[in-house]
Symmetry: C2
Subunit: 192 residues, 2 copies
């Protein structure tokens, strides 16, 4: 049995290597540069090996996305738990979210921009995605205001952050005023 277990470990290890390499390559040169050939070469295996782990490129993007969702959730929770009061928690959440998107553009793309073949807002949504939304909900639910459904408020706030993140990264918004925009958004949307 030990032999099989070792092989299984090695296989899992190689899968992590694939995902990590794809992510690294995407952050360095963009997702367009993440071709199956380049990826295979970097992990020092042939192309078909990728397809013994993932159905195709989409699933690799999806794997990076799930990894990113977990990190985003953790970052948000760390930031909010270190802040005092609902207003400050929400501000910290917003800054952390936008910071994550700015620092990990490829991962953010994998999560929300590209097709990673993941289901959202459904029964079979992967756990990390649900949990990331839950992390937002924990702090945002506090400031939804009377008579406003916390989940719906979280969706709206999240959408606003997503819009700021993508438009900024696409060059549609100048990054200098980023902080001012966050202040405005938090002041208006969050009910103390």
């Amino acid at each position: 049995m030990s032999v099989q277990e070792r092989k299984q470990r090695e296989r899992a290890e190689r899968e992590r290597l694939i995902v990590a390499t794809a992510r690294e390559l995407a952050e360095q040169q963009g997702w367009d540069a993440v071709t199956t050939r380049r990826l295979a070469e970097r992990i020092e295996y042939s192309q078909p090996v990728l397809y013994s782990h993932f159905r195709g490129k989409r699933e690799i993007i999806g794997a990076v996305a799930l990894e990113g969702a977990a990190e985003l959730a953790a970052a948000v929770r760390a930031a909010t738990s270190a802040a005092d009061g609902p207003r400050e928690r929400v501000a910290a959440l917003a800054r952390t979210y936008l910071d994550f998107a700015a620092r990990n553009p490829a991962v953010y793309d994998a999560l929300f921009q590209l097709d990673g073949g993941l289901a959202y807002a459904q029964e079979d949504t992967p756990e990390p995605l649900k949990d990331a939304f839950a992390a937002l909900l924990e702090s945002l639910g506090e400031v939804a205001g009377d008579g406003v459904h916390p989940g719906l408020f979280t969706e709206v706030f999240w959408a606003s952050l997503h819009g700021l993140a993508t438009l900024t990264r696409a060059g549609r918004l100048l990054p200098e005023e980023a902080e001012t925009r966050v202040e405005l958004l938090v002041d208006r949307l969050a009910v103390a």
Copy 2:
């Protein structure tokens, strides 16, 4: 001279045909289906003809985007001018914007999701893009609130709409609650 003029007219006509066909194909089957071969076949010319009008596929996407920007601006202006009072104008603007994105997903993608090789928020930004932003600013500037720069407020509001539009279309948000989300957004962000 008349011969040259006729040729020029025909050339311009063919260029419109290319853009219209690309848009139609994109709306029908998505931008992935808009390949230079398929596009060439539909306009009943060979591939290289496309490259005598546009530098490449990117520029074709850009042309569709500009067309869309003009339509979006017109739709927003029509909706806002028909509404009474700042609050209602902004609500109409939001609904119209999201409706446009939902009804013309391919055009919206060309505008804000894909790389059409267009410059944004800069000196050499094409006129239709500037004008679309101006159309938003006209109504949103009214409800920015004291001491808040109208342009910055417009950016934030626009980003929120953009987030709602993209997340809804990507299946990240369920469309049933769309109207409720718009109400919430307008109520909180707009200062009467």
